[in-house]
Amino acid sequence: MDIGQLINSILNDPDQVFVLTKAFVVGKFPEGAQPLVSILLSILPILSVFPGLFALTTILERKGLGRIQNRMGPNRVGPFGILQPVADGIKALIKEDVVPRAADKVVHFLAPVVIVIPVIMSYAVLPVGRNMVAIDLDAGLLFFFAVGASTELAVFMAGWSSRNKYSLLGAMRAIGQMISYEIPLILSAITVVMAVGSLSTTSMVDAQAGYYGWLPNWYVFTPWGFAGFLLFLTAATAESNRSPFDIPEGESEIIAGYFVEYSGFKFALFFLGEYLGLFAVSGLAITLFLGGWHAPLPFLEWIPSWCWFFVKLMCFIVLFIWLRGTLPRLRQDQLMNFAWKFMLPLTLINIVVAGIWRFLEPGMLRWAVCAAILAAAYVLLARGLTAARGVAPREYRYAEN
């Protein structure tokens, strides 16, 4: 195949531009080197696109938070301050790397590395477009959660090796929170596994193809899918230590938690790991509930599939920035109560509802039954919990009218 044919086939099907280009480049190499080149060409985009997205998100977040807090945000570097990430990156690189004298040097050095590598590995199973997944594993979802499991260990390494009480406190908080929210996270994802009958991420996307009239066939538009999506989103926010679940960092109480003793590029690596984790889990939410790379409306299908994935990802990023700017931080006991007493029972009920949905006849009855069970569970749990804690409408003694 020569370059002209390549351009022709890309023009015929712009959706497959990256897939075709990769096949073209791989074909130019000798037979023996082809598997290696193919692997490298799958990894390189992941290593370049998502950290690039991280740079874009830092400026978006600072601008967005500035707007929410009625200030300008960064506006000095480049037009409207859009070159701020470049300046930040150079600053992080040339800054002095301060390591506390009492710190455990080796573990202190390894922690930022251990936090970034598994997160990047988890992108391997995210389908970002039609035929665009680095490895299509049979147990892709399990892989995602398995590599994500080492994040807690990295957080512990950072907090413990710094020999700083704020670091250790932050690490303890972070690990407690991550373990608590991992359970609802995985349990809410299980509903989709039940519906699809597979752990492979590509078959999850395939199962959500097609439309009912104009409504896309996504799982978020079913009662259990909607509940599962909200539960997954909440647990994902807590998993990635984002506001309002950012007590491990709690700037006003424990300065920055487990990475308080890091400076320079190691600090930047922690930020990178945190944001990449956020993107990965958002990508998984898109894959599980929002139809992956499928277009939301039938007449929009001419837009390439990878565009849709990134449009959805950007929506998630904007949502997270909005949440961070507008919600106050939870307290530790509220956080734990919410995870164990509210989210965990609700996810378990949601699994049962997904089972009922599977075995009832398609139609309005199925919809009504499942939605009614979930709504009743939600209301009863919320009412029961607030009654048990003796929460009542606040009475104002002096400020009445």
Partner: protein, 182 residues
């Protein structure tokens, strides 16, 4: 295949040696994680996908954290380097070799490991799930029940007894009065 095996085996064994030889308990725990991860990679190399991922999820994600927490909460992280049972290194190495030799000779003479007949089974996650839900459903349920009972038991042990007694003693009106301030 061969190169991958050598790398993974070196890392796994290196981790295992580090667990035994490092002096600091937290370092030992972290080295143990390397061994767990190496074992997971080895399962993956043997194309046992499901077992590999579960190994990572359970051992790296849960067991390692448990060990580390236990070390921190029992304040053993600052324990002094201790002397083992045997003071002579020669005796230690001798006993280790003897134990290793016994296990290897037992394995090599065992009839259960007929090396000529081994064919790699192609097992998908779907097959494992179907087996778990049909043939092994009773053991699965029993394990689930056992784990639930253990969790409830742990919560009961961890519960502050004084607080529970207080709560059951305190009458309703008192509660209502408290809430007005909150």
């Amino acid at each position: 295949m061969e190169l991958a095996f050598v790398i993974i085996a070196t890392v796994t064994l290196g981790g295992a040696v580090a667990v035994m030889s490092l002096r600091h308990l937290v370092h030992c725990a972290l080295a143990l994680v390397v061994t767990f991860a190496g074992l997971g990679a080895m399962y993956l190399l043997l194309s046992a996908e499901f077992v590999a991922f579960v190994q990572l999820l359970v051992y790296v994600g849960a067991v390692a954290i448990l060990i580390v927490f236990a070390l921190l909460l029992t304040r053993s992280a600052t324990v002094e380097p201790h002397q083992g049972l045997l003071h002579s290194k020669v005796a230690g190495v001798g006993i280790a070799l003897l134990a290793f030799g016994t296990i290897i000779s037992a394995l090599l003479t065992s009839s259960r490991f007929d090396r000529t007949q081994i064919t790699a089974p192609s097992l998908t996650v779907r097959q494992i799930g179907e087996e778990l839900m049909t043939r092994y459903v009773l053991p699965l349920e029993v394990i689930g029940l056992l784990l639930t009972a253990a969790t409830i038991g742990a919560v009961v042990i961890a519960m502050d007894e004084r607080k529970v007694a207080d709560r059951s003693k305190s009458a309703e009106p008192e509660h209502a009065a408290e809430d007005k301030h909150g």
